[in-house]
Assembly symmetry: C2
Homo-oligomer: 357 residues x 2
Amino acid sequence: MTATTETRGPGRRGAGELPSYTLVNGARKMQIRIGIVGYGNLGRGVECAVKQNPDTTLVAAFTRRPPETVKILTEGVGVYSVDKIAEMKDEIDVLILCGGSATDLPKQTPELARLFNVVDSFDTHAKIPEHFAAVDAAAQESGKVALISCGWDPGMFSLARLYGGAILPNGVDYTFWGRGVSQGHSDAIRRVDGVLDAKQYTIPLEAALTAARSGSNPTLTTREKHLRECFVVAKEGADLERIEREIKTMPNYFADYDTIVHFISAEELKRDHSGIPHGGFVVRSGKTGWNGEHKHVVEYSLKLDSNPEFTSSVLVACARAAYRLNAEGVRGCKTLLDVPPAYLSPKSGAELRKELL
Amino acid sequence: MTATTETRGPGRRGAGELPSYTLVNGARKMQIRIGIVGYGNLGRGVECAVKQNPDTTLVAAFTRRPPETVKILTEGVGVYSVDKIAEMKDEIDVLILCGGSATDLPKQTPELARLFNVVDSFDTHAKIPEHFAAVDAAAQESGKVALISCGWDPGMFSLARLYGGAILPNGVDYTFWGRGVSQGHSDAIRRVDGVLDAKQYTIPLEAALTAARSGSNPTLTTREKHLRECFVVAKEGADLERIEREIKTMPNYFADYDTIVHFISAEELKRDHSGIPHGGFVVRSGKTGWNGEHKHVVEYSLKLDSNPEFTSSVLVACARAAYRLNAEGVRGCKTLLDVPPAYLSPKSGAELRKELL
C-alpha cells in the first residue's frame, strides 16, 4: 500500500481557474480548500494536519491580530484579517474554527456558518445543545454544513460511548481522562493569591481502571477515579501552606479529589512541564445472554503527546466529511455521531471494504 | 437515566392490525420486527440481544431443520421452515442472517435481500468485495437495505482501523486477536489423523502489544504477534509425536507461529474449554506536527466472554440502523463504515448530544 500522490494546479483557485486536484495512484482527487480561523496551538495543529492529508490544501489563515504580525509555517499561503473573511467566500471549501469554547465559538460558528461550511471543536459539554441549535439555524438557512464538537472529548470519546452503549445496552460507561494537562485546572491554580504559574495533571487511578475493566460494573466515586497533581511556582516569600490549602479545598476543581501539590521553580516548570500531553479511556462494561450470564468489556483509549495536534487531526478529517456531506446536498449542524465513518477517510468505499473491513 | 419502557400492541402485526410500539419515558417508539434465519449460537445470541433492546421484537425464527425440532427461548414466537419465509414478507422489518460465511451467506444474503432488509456477519475478509457486489445488485433492485459484515472483525475492528487511519494518516495499524478460540484452527486440528477433538486459542504476545503501543511504529512478524495454544484429544494409542508435528508444521494455520500442543482427555476438554471467549486489540500509532515530532497511540480493545453473543449484539444494533436507513429511502448494500453512528442507537439525536457527546 504505497500510494503515490502528486498535487497539480494552483492551491487557491478563483471562479475562472482550473480546479486543483491530486493524483493518487493515477486517479484525480479534488483538493479540499481549507481556511483556518485563529492561529494558536490548535490552528497551527490544523496547518500541520493539512500537510499530512494530500487531498486538502491550506488556502488562508485568518486572525484577529494584525495579519503582518502572524507568521505561519506554510510557504505561499496568506494570513488575513478575520474582517476580510467574507471576501474569500468562493475560494474556501471548509473553514476550520480554532478559537476557544468560552467566548469565540458561540459567536463565530453560527456567524461563519452563514457563509461557509465550518468545523469546530466546541467542548463545553453542558452547552452543546444550545450551540447546536444556534449553529443549525444558521446552516439550515445558508445551505452549508457545520460539524461541531469535533475532537476527542467531545468527539472520539463520544463515539466510543455511543457504539459501546448501542451494542451493550445492559451495561455501564466509564470515562477516565489523563494522564494529561488540564488547562482549566491550571488556570484555577494561577488565580490563587501568591501563585505565579502552575500546571495541573489529571491522573486516572489504576485501581479504578482495573475495576472498570473487570466487568463487575462497579460504582466509582469522583475521588476513586482520578488524582490531581499540581506543579506550582509561588511568589518569593508566599505562604506555601496557605496556597496548598486553598488549592486542595477549592470547590468544583479540587475539593472532591485527592490532590498533590509540588512547589517548583519557574525554570523547572519550563524545563519539565512545557508539553501538552493528554489522553484517557472509555470503558463499556456490559452483559449479554438470556440471563446476563456473559460479560464483555470494550475499551477505547488515547495516549497523546500533543492534545491540540490530535484535536487538529480530528478537525481536518471532519473537514473532509463536511465537504462531502455538503457536496451531496446535506445542510445544517451535525456532529461526529451523524457522520458516516467512511466520509472521514480519503479512501473510496471500495478501497475501504477491500483494505480495512 | 432510568428509562421506563413498556411494550404495547401485538408483537406480530398484519396489514390490518395496529402497529406495535413501546413507550419509552412516555414517548411512543415504533417496534422493529426482527426475524432470525438460522438458530445456532449466533441465532440464539440475536434472540437474547433482542430481549435487551426494548425497541425490537422477535416475530419469527426460520430454520432448515424440521421446525418442530427447534425450541427457542422466547415464548409465543413461532419457528418456521426457511422455505416459508417469503410468506412473512410483510410481517418482518429486518431479517438477521445467522448462517456461516463459507456456504450459507454467499447464497442467502443476496436471495433474501430481494424480499427483506437484511443484516449478516459475513466474515471471509478476502471475499467481502465479491459478496458486497452480489448483495448490492439484489438490494438495489428490491429497494431494500442489506448491512453486511456486521460483527467485530469485520465490524467494530474495521471501524477502529478506519477512524485511526483517517485521524492519523501518518501512522501504522496493528490488529491483534485473542485470547480466544479460533473455530477455523480448531477445525484444522480435528482433521489431523488420530485426533478426536480439539480447541485452539489464539494468544496475542505481550511484548508485541507493548511494542505496538510504544509509538515507535515497529515492524512485527506473524510469529512475534501471536502464539497458538492447542488442546487436543487423541484417539487411544495414536502417535502423539506425529500429531504434534503435523499440527505445528501445518501450512497457513500453524507453520508461521510458535505453537504449543497439550494432549488432554475428552472430559478435560469439556470441563475446561467449553466456552467461546474471544477479543483483541486494534492499535493505531501515528505522528503529528510539522516534522512528525509528536507521537499518538489510539487503541480499541475487546474482552468477550462469548464471541457469538457479542457479534449478535452488533447484529441487532445494525438491524436498527438498516431499518432506519431503509425508512429514509436508502437502498442497496452497506457496511458499518457507511452507517451514521447515531442510527445504531435507540436514542434520539437530541438525547445523544445531551447525554453522550
